[in-house]
């Protein structure tokens, strides 16, 4: 729970204890839970359907399967001829490298913008801000031509190298804002003790940056795990597919005949997101509330 929530809850505790069981609040609780269930019902139903035999998927809207089968999982796992483990490893490698890339490249650029003085800084900072809202579609075609010319198609390089070059300017901005909030006295003290700018970054700023780095890591992971357009353009060999592309290819190859197997693999593909959701809720909420990350 964030500090702000704690405060607002704290100030209203007195009135709350009386209100807790008021009919109005009971009604609100009931409505919220009912709506939440309706919203999440399709997802729950998908999980349950992954355990249903094919014909039940089209005839049983309920969550409790009348008949349970594990066949879908085996069929789905081998659905594209090679096991899904390939695609999970590919996605994990791409997402993992992207997280590392963004953490390294964005944090050093952010430190330079937030704390150091250099020629052309206002211009470069404006350029950085300008690239935040740039639609990917504008640079998609030339980027493809560039990476194709370099012989990088069907490798992970087009998806990963940009992350090591701080192309996600959003995170640079997020980290700049965070560093500006850190007390400058710490930098000054370290400078007096003989630290250069790089030393200040490594010994002072980087360790203090951890909350913002966590937000960066969480969102980079979610975005790259869900990314579809990038892998769709660059990865055309089955053994290179990410989970997203593999799921889509699975749909193409079976038509719509094997929903059970497709649901099983879809559920598996969401497991990493669920894990992030469970263990990084604070970072998610902070990231969205402070910067509007999706």
């Amino acid at each position: 729970m964030s500090d702000a929530t704690m405060q607002s809850v704290g100030t209203s505790t007195a009135s709350m204890s009386r209100q807790l069981l008021s009919p109005k609040h009971l009604l609100a609780h009931a409505a919220i839970i009912a709506l939440g269930l309706v919203m999440l019902y399709p997802v729950l139903w998908m999980i349950s359907s992954a355990f249903k035999p094919a014909q039940l998927i089209f005839s049983e809207p309920g969550l409790l399967p009348r008949q349970v089968t594990l066949e879908n999982w085996g069929q789905g796992w081998m659905g594209l001829g090679i096991p899904f483990s390939y695609f999970f490893i590919n996605s994990a490698v791409i997402s993992g490298l992207s997280v590392v890339g963004n953490l390294c490249s964005c944090s050093i650029a952010a430190y330079a913008f937030a704390r150091l003085e250099f020629h052309l800084k206002p211009l470069l900072f404006a350029l950085m801000l300008g690239t935040i809202m740039l639609p990917f579609q504008v640079i998609m075609v030339p980027q493809y031509i560039l990476f194709q010319g370099l012989g990088w198609t069907n490798t992970f390089l087009p998806l990963v190298v940009p992350k090591f070059l701080a192309v996600d300017a959003f995170f640079v901005f997020l980290l700049v804002q965070f560093i500006r909030g850190l007390p400058r006295e710490l930098d000054d003290a370290a400078t007096v003790d003989g630290c250069g700018p790089l030393g200040v970054f490594w010994r002072i700023i980087f360790p203090l940056l951890r909350p913002a780095l966590a937000v960066t890591a969480v969102f980079t992971f979610i975005w790259t795990w869900n990314d579809f357009l990038g892998p769709l353009i660059y990865l055309t060999r089955t053994e290179n597919y990410t989970v997203s592309i593999a799921l889509n290819a699975f749909l193409d190859s079976t038509g719509t005949s094997n929903w059970g197997a497709m649901f099983a693999m879809s559920v598996l593909s969401l497991v990493p997101l669920f894990l992030v959701f469970m263990f990084a809720q604070r970072q998610l909420v902070q990231g969205i509330a402070t910067t509007g990350l999706k």
Binding site: T5, S8, T11, M16, L20, H25, A28, A31, I32, G36, M39, L40, V43, W45, M46, I57, F58, E60, P61, C104, S105, I108, A109, Y111, A112, L116, E117, T131, P135, Q137, V138, I139, V141, P142, Y144, L146, L165, V167, R180, P197, L198, I222, N226, F228, L229, I233, S244, N248, L251, T256, W259, S266, V267, S269, L270, F277, V285, I288, A289, G292
Partner: protein, 323 residues
């Protein structure tokens, strides 16, 4: 931001009077950090020029050529733009579908997000739990898995029709395969991911001073008046922020329409989002020049609509201290 550019009084000189960073000494105190900033900015600068600005310029250039990855590149002037605007019905179909998607999807999503945020903001116990519950769809919504699920549940024998059938409805259409409804299912998917604007609204609602409401109560204002006179004006900067953000995001939606329509944008181009048509031109027809022209028209479109939003904001966005 202004403070960033103020020169530190002791810049370039450490407390014992010696130059702290000798390299910058001769050039004065402004750039006391010497080469360090450039070292740290190197990856970003390479990315800026090689992966962002360079391709932008290249894309503008390509939009005036017939480049198709295989044949000779030839300068064709404004031909791509002229063809798009005068001789390509699918361009207008795509632009129309996208506008409908944005104009219906974004406000609906924001209204929903605000309504739920207000319900959650009454000091209910379990706020964090509910907030997470409602955020979950936002987290999952852009995945292929959910797009696949959507394709099933809005199919002819999908979950939605099974449920409606249980309530006695008959002759139900296959929503996703019917041109009249297919886009609506995508809009619904967009609305379904209202969790992230909701979190932003919740943060905004907490900033509204309580005494405003108390004063209004003393004056005899009901909940409706309070909403129109206090909540909405006080929240308008946050609404505006969400509006711009969601608009720019939704113009770029791609995965959902690709997966739901199998990459075709069908039936009869009813789910052909602009980005999907651009993808088809670039990567199935390999008309890279044409696709680049499309990209710049997209930028123009987003620019005009965000510009309109900014212009209109003068009339409805109230910043604290304005009054």
């Amino acid at each position: 931001m202004a403070t960033e550019h103020v020169i530190h009084p002791s810049a370039g000189v450490s407390r014992n009077g010696q130059p702290a960073v000798p390299i910058a000494g001769r050039r004065g105190t402004r750039f006391k950090h010497g080469y360090a900033p450039w070292l740290l900015l190197t990856p970003w600068l390479i990315g800026l020029f090689a992966i962002t600005l360079g391709p932008m310029v290249a894309s503008l250039y390509l939009s005036f050529t017939n480049y198709n990855l295989l044949g000779q590149l030839r300068w064709v002037g404004f031909n791509n733009y002229i063809e798009l605007l005068t001789d390509d019905p699918r361009f207008y179909a795509a632009a129309g579908v996208t506008l409908k998607y944005v104009i219906a999807g974004v406000p609906l999503q924001l209204i929903f997000a605000l309504a739920i945020a207000m319900i959650l903001n009454q000091g209910l116990a379990g706020l964090t739990f509910y907030r997470s519950l409602y955020y979950l769809p936002s987290l999952l919504g852009s995945s292929v898995a959910i797009a696949l699920l959507w394709r099933q549940i809005f199919g002819s024998a999908g979950l939605v029709n099974q449920v409606l059938g249980a309530f006695g409805f008959t002759n139900l259409p296959a929503w996703i395969a019917t041109p009249e409804y297919s886009l609506d299912t995508l809009i619904l998917l967009h609305v379904w991911t209202f969790g992230s604007p909701m979190i932003i609204f919740l943060a905004g609602l907490r900033q509204i001073p309580r005494d405003l409401y108390e004063a209004a109560s003393v004056d005899g204002a009901g909940p409706w008046t309070k909403f129109w006179q206090i909540t909405l004006p006080m929240l308008s900067p946050v609404i505006f922020f969400n509006l711009i953000l969601q608009m720019i995001h939704s113009f770029q939606s791609f995965t959902q329409s690709f997966v739901v329509s199998g990459g075709s944008g069908g039936p009869v181009d009813s789910t052909l989002l602009y980005t999907l048509y651009m993808y088809q031109q670039a990567f199935t027809q390999f008309r890279m020049g044409y696709a680049s022209a499309m990209a710049w028209l997209l930028v123009l479109g987003i620019g005009v609509l965000t510009g309109l939003a900014f212009w209109s904001s003068k009339h409805w966005v109230h910043y604290a201290g304005d009054k």
